[in-house]
Symmetry: C2
Subunit: 339 residues, 2 copies
């Protein structure tokens, strides 16, 4: 089968890889319908994470081709959406809702779903079957649920978005936009998107942003305070992962408020004393997407939400290298790879 391999930073190729097979009785092999390039794929692409002939991809929807003897919740032909972290959905950590810290957690990025097929371990715990075969126009939205929607949702949930609440979103990439959508769905009264790109501001407003703040850093914090009676936002969703964005998110959260952070924060050093005197709740990390998947799939299926609009470039898998380039050069927010 064909699949994406990142030889080294900036060098992405589509080449022949071995076809996956069922190895463990809890495995499923799926044929990908669509996959995509993640903002986090740009870390190795830009040389910030080490990379050496690495298979790529951790976002995926597709059709089950084969299941192991112990798989109970799906059969060949079913359409499935999976989380970007393998989980058993039965251990104590999963039962508490933190599937990304499952005792059997494994990152799907090690499997590489930018490919024609993929072996998914612990299929019952990782994949969720859709109510039927999706209409073609639903595929991008289902694919979004696999990571960017689930991750943005986790950020908004961790920020305790809800009725009567003001939520600020730091970051206008795909995950930030999905946090805006999630905050709206969770009932937030006011949603402040921090963005200085006109087309992303427009998409943020489409997804539910009520206010746009273009300032960053201390000026951004100051602006959020002005908009919230001097107090700061009840909740902030951080979806970038730089030193500036993280501290901006800390500063924009009111005392006793909630910071949800999902930007992979390489190299960030949080001054303990600043976090201490901020007096805020924080929750972050790789999102437990599996917890949210059944609900997110239902909302997509019912056409209540339209997260797929976050994909602004669609390419065939063979043109993955161009997809990476487009995201790296910020010509695209999020690239869908078709199969």
């Amino acid at each position: 089968m064909r699949g994406v391999v990142m030889y080294k930073a900036g060098d992405v190729r589509v080449e022949e890889r071995a076809d996956p097979t069922v190895v463990e009785p809890t495995d499923a092999v799926i044929r990908l319908t669509a996959t995509c390039v993640c903002g986090s794929d740009l870390w190795p692409y830009r040389g910030i994470e080490a990379v050496d002939h690495q298979v790529m991809g951790h976002e995926y929807v597709g059709v089950v081709e084969e299941v192991g003897a112990e798989v109970r919740t799906m059969k060949p032909g079913d359409f499935v959406v999976g989380s970007f972290v393998i989980s058993d959905n039965t251990c104590e950590i999963c039962r508490s809702g933190f599937h990304s810290k499952c005792v059997h957690a494994e990152f799907v990025s090690q499997i590489g779903t930018q490919a024609e097929r993929a072996r998914i371990p612990l299929a019952d715990g990782t994949l969720v079957v859709t109510p039927g075969q999706p209409d073609a126009d639903l595929v991008p939205s289902l694919l979004a649920a696999s990571d960017v929607l689930g991750t943005g949702w986790f950020a908004a949930d961790a920020a305790q978005a809800g009725p009567g609440k003001t939520v600020a979103v730091v970051g206008d990439g795909a995950v930030g936009l999905m946090a805006v959508l999630a905050a709206r769905e969770l009932g937030a009264e006011r949603i402040i998107a921090m963005s200085r790109h006109p087309e992303r501001q427009e998409l943020a407003r489409y997804y539910g942003a009520t206010d746009i703040v273009e300032e960053r850093g201390d000026a951004g914090v100051q602006r959020i305070k002005e908009l919230t009676g001097g107090l700061g936002a009840h909740g902030v969703a951080e979806a970038v992962g730089t030193q500036e964005s993280f501290m901006q998110a800390v500063g924009a959260t009111r005392g006793g408020g909630h910071l949800g952070y999902v930007g992979v924060n390489h190299g960030v050093q949080i001054p303990g004393i600043e976090l201490f005197f901020a007096g805020i709740h924080t929750l972050g990390g790789p999102a437990p997407v599996r917890r949210y998947l059944p609900d997110l799939i239902r909302r997509v299926w019912d056409r209540t939400i339209d997260p797929g609009r976050v994909f602004d470039l669609t390419l065939p898998l063979d043109q993955a290298a161009e997809g990476y380039r487009a995201m790296d050069e910020r010509r695209a927010t999020k690239v869908l790879l078709e199969l």
Copy 2:
């Protein structure tokens, strides 16, 4: 009146200070019955925080001597316990329970309650009247409520101590011991005290610790994991504030678990990526003691809890310098200053 002044690091004196008076109509002037030396007072004493002729003290119980015209909830003669942060108890932040981030917050350490008298601003929002004049043996426990008990309680609450939960406490100083007591009162099933001092281990067991772990750092984390089926504690209360203790607390918390941190963490740099992949909730900072005070006073008054035992040295105010020395040299866990 007499009061403590720290001239410079290591130089604590009791000298004449001006008698306080009611300045604002919301003030109360109290005559101190007892005050004490806080672990955080050792930061300037040891030269880690700058200090120059600073009045000292932020923990206090006493009798109201005079109130301003707008004070409604107390009158001269009432016995009161106060928080170490001034709060109005009416603003949006206070109403959400985070009095230490009140829009009118002011640290009592700037007032200096290691003294015969103190002016307490926003008396209605800061002080709580006890049900009557306390028996002498209750005074240390009421004094503890003012900071160490309230702070330990906040740490245990932030760690979500409760039925069925395993809570680890990092730090066996007064606040750590109070976090143990709080975890027990909140119903935690298992309470692991991290301590290597035999007499503090004994006190920890008295207050409810079910297990003692002597290891620190990575070895301490490993031991907590061994005691919790490899998962880590549901909640961890951090009551030290060093780099090692903070990261030990992060590592000892299970995925999706709760870290409550109350050690003033000067100089700590939290690696963002480690916190990210830990996937935990955190909540910390100066404790909103005022939120807990009515409940804590009731528990002390009913003799349900005995936090006063944390004071292992009592001295007259005039010997404050010896009290600082005893705590600095770890000859005492917590020093009560009598008036």
